[in-house]
């Protein structure tokens, strides 16, 4: 289990990195935290000819409060986001979910942008960003553009990034008023790939009716899967226990078409989606209603 040889390039600036990416094209892989890429290379299932190491791009690391909310640089270590007070204040859903991502040793090295661009269907961060209506700032040598998180994920390990584009940062908008959130996940062991996970937010209007919600699942499809029919069903409704149960049922039976693997059949995944969506929405609603929520997600 030793990686095959490759050419190693370590640009010092984003411009240099983009030049190298353009120059080497599909032969090259970007190396961020490496916590997904390097294992694959050790198995020799990935043998990129060129690795462009982004770890010296200090300009891409950091969390800043922005006018819209929170700007997180792509090379920000997951651990930094986990510990960040700004994230806790402005994107509490993200804060709540960070400990579910693998283990501390991996989060110390793994980056926010690396996970987002890798687009593993079992990863937490893509689902969280979709649930948070985040926007991705991406660039090639000549242009910069913004892509909504929901539009960023186009398929299995596939994103809207062009081959010569790089993810620079992600902007998470402020949580609207009267909004609750919750993240739930079940994995075989703490830190394993989720069997199913769900990120939810719900915003209530002054009368306590649903004025917008997100139910975004992971490990049930090609990428983050938004339960749009369930959300549509909640719109304008009072989020009673029945309404939540109904939304979870729609999520499990209509919004997702989960895959099977040795750890979970499709039917089991549907059941977990049903249960976790119920639990997450229940906690999110309680938060939106201003109730104390002590539980921090299923382990």
């Amino acid at each position: 289990m030793k990686p095959a040889p490759f050419r190693y390039l370590r640009p010092g600036t984003v411009d240099d990195a983009l030049d190298l990416l353009t120059e080497h094209g599909p032969q090259a892989k970007l190396l961020a935290g490496g916590q997904s890429l390097i294992p694959t290379m050790n198995f020799r299932l990935s043998q990129p000819a060129v690795l462009i190491d982004l770890n010296r791009l200090g300009e891409l690391a950091g969390i800043e409060e922005s006018r819209r909310g929170l700007m997180i640089g792509a090379m920000t270590r997951q651990r930094a986001a986990e510990r960040s007070g700004a994230v806790r204040d402005r994107a509490p859903l993200l804060s709540e979910a960070m400990p579910f991502i693998s283990h501390p040793q991996v989060r110390n090295r793994g980056t926010i942008g690396g996970s987002l661009a890798h687009a593993d269907p079992a990863a937490e961060l893509p689902a969280l960003m979709v649930a948070l209506d985040a926007e991705f700032l991406v660039r090639d040598r000549d242009h910069q553009r913004r892509i909504a998180a929901a539009d960023f994920y186009t398929g299995l390990f596939a994103t809207a990034l062009a081959p010569d584009e790089m993810l620079l940062s992600v902007e998470v908008p402020k949580t609207p008023k009267r909004t609750g959130w919750a993240f739930e996940e079940i994995s075989r062991r703490h830190g394993d790939y989720a069997l199913v996970g769900v990120a939810t937010t719900i915003t209530l209007d002054r009368k306590g009716r649903c004025d917008g919600a997100h139910i975004v699942l992971l490990s049930v499809g090609d990428g983050p899967v938004a339960a749009s029919q369930a959300v549509a069903g909640l719109a304008g409704e009072e989020p009673t226990a029945d309404a939540i149960r109904q939304a979870a049922e729609v999520t499990a039976t209509r919004d997702i078409d989960p895959p099977a693997d040795i750890h979970a059949s499709a039917a089991y995944r549907r059941q977990l989606a049903r249960v976790l969506t119920t639990r997450a929405l229940t906690r999110a609603v309680a938060r939106a209603q201003g109730a104390e929520v002590s539980e921090t997600g299923a382990r």
């Binding site: 599909p26 694959t40 090609d222 895959p259 693997d261």
Partner: protein
């Protein structure tokens, strides 16, 4: 592993049959593959698969078509071998008319996946199989409807007259790719 699925095409069965056996269509559906007709209904070549972090997985592939019943069904036998593992199996493809411009394809593939890739890739097997075959089928369907197919990342070269069922290859490719993760 067994893959069973179906797909509805917007076109007549005869058109679909012809399209499935048309190399230019196949070329759009299968980037990164070189196949050569070595004898009647038998193809050999190489495939290079890229999915997510998996980059350089090269496979020697042999595909054989048997039991062709135009325009209803065919079976294909596939054998792919590479440094990371192998796949081997058969796929039965059946086309049923559902109307003048609608054809239902049912496919059942029974495949063995082995070696290093089988032991590491199972988490994504199902997803990759579904996603890849769906993409291939949609590409063919777009072509059937006269739309320009989406641009392929790398051109497929078919070096000889193709009498190949694109979809079955797609399924095989899917499985090959699947196992790489």
């Amino acid at each position: 592993m067994e893959i069973q699925s179906e797909f509805v095409f917007n076109g007549s069965r005869d058109d679909l049959w012809a399209n499935l056996l048309d190399p230019t269509v196949l070329a759009k559906a299968l980037p990164g593959t070189k196949l050569e007709l070595v004898e009647e209904d038998r193809y050999e070549g190489q495939m290079e698969a890229t999915v997510g972090p998996v980059t350089a997985a090269r496979f020697d592939v042999t595909i054989e078509l048997v039991d062709k019943v135009a325009p209803e069904s065919f079976t294909m036998r596939v054998d792919g071998k590479g440094a990371a593992g192998f796949t081997k199996g058969t796929a039965l493809v059946q086309l049923a008319e559902q109307g003048p411009t609608e054809t239902l394809m049912k496919y059942t593939a029974d495949l063995q996946v082995g070696g290093r890739i089988a032991g590491v890739g199972q988490r994504l097997l199902d997803s990759v199989a579904n996603s890849m075959s769906r993409q291939g089928l949609e590409a063919i369907n777009r072509h059937l409807q006269g739309e320009a197919p989406a641009e392929a990342a790398a051109p497929l070269q078919l070096l000889s007259r193709p009498v190949l069922a694109a979809i079955a290859v797609v399924i095989i490719v899917a499985v090959l790719l699947v196992v790489l993760l």
